[in-house]
Symmetry: C2
Subunit: 195 residues, 2 copies
């Protein structure tokens, strides 16, 4: 599976200069011609892409995580993490799923791919993983404390809308599903272990 | 009206150092103690806060904008812009409304205030402006081309969900309103010129 990276709505032009290289963020600047002919320095960031995985267990429950990170309140989320430099997107999704849950998946469905911010060159890839098998314990890094939280589909929709689990676009689809029975059934199928 | 700035879920600690000062973004880093006792450099950005204004015209239409910015596709949005350094939040909302629409408003209702990103110290304040009076033409900066687009409430809800107008949290309320008649009536009241 070759996954295409979504394009930014306001791409960093080729002549942009990297003016700062950080740990998470790099900063780019360029001279932009404005509509009135004047010129202004524009600035935009780059950061590593993110994968989000919604794992569907054989019993139909969706595997969420209760997470604690340093300096941040406990929150409920989906397995997620950064795509390392040079790493294949699907490989990153598989790695994050294994590290954060101990599961491998037979099938990874790309549900959504987009660049959520016009000021940051940064894509989020959302997968639904099926055919799950537990093969090890959790290997969270030193900056995470994780408790597995499998939930039934209806509870999953409730939690995802309430706690804003995942990327903006997919949260919106959960909200739609919460209110529109037809959309909910479509989503229930998409998240069923055998579909 | 004193507007409180919402707190970040993962605040930049006091001992953080500013390692880069950009045009839109400043970069901060600090040494963070992890749960396993190890120490890692954490990085987070700061940018100027944003105000978003939904102006309600005397005839009940909501004033949206068709905007073109350099290097970006045409998009529909609400009047919005940055809070200048040291500028009062309400003052910024009034200034942006006037610059982008030529209108002043008698009443500014703070509808929502939040920090949408845990990696950027950055608040978005969303206002509903009423008692509008046109006092001048548009004064967009050289980086904007603006066409005023007043729309009726139902169309406003449609456009705002489809085009993702405003901040994530308020878009979600538009989606809820689209599907839940009770929520839609609540929102219709909130956006009525006389309420």
């Amino acid at each position: 599976m070759e996954i295409e990276r979504p394009k930014s709505k306001q791409p960093i032009p080729q002549n942009a200069k990297r003016v700062f290289k950080g740990i998470l963020f790099d900063v780019y600047q360029w001279e932009q011609e404005m509509f009135d002919g004047s010129r202004t320095i524009f600035e935009k960031l780059k950061r590593l892409d993110t994968v989000v995985i919604f794992p569907v267990l054989p019993d139909g429950k969706i595997l969420l995580l209760e997470q604690k990170q340093p300096g941040k309140e406990v929150f409920i989320g989906a397995p997620a993490g950064r795509v390392d430099k040079g790493e294949d997107i699907l490989t990153a999704a598989k790695r994050e799923l294994l590290e954060e849950t101990g599961y491998i998946g037979e099938e990874f469905i790309l549900w959504d791919a987009r660049q959520p911010s016009s000021k940051i060159d940064y894509a989020v890839f959302t997968f639904i993983a099926k055919g799950l098998k537990k093969i090890s314990g959790l290997k969270p890094d030193g900056g995470e404390k994780i408790v597995l939280k499998p939930v039934k589909f209806d509870e999953f929709v409730e939690i995802s809308t309430r706690e804003k689990v995942g990327e903006k676009e997919t949260i919106m689809r959960f909200i739609e599903a919460k209110y529109d029975p037809k959309k909910k059934e479509e989503l229930r199928k998409l998240f069923s272990p055998n579909y």
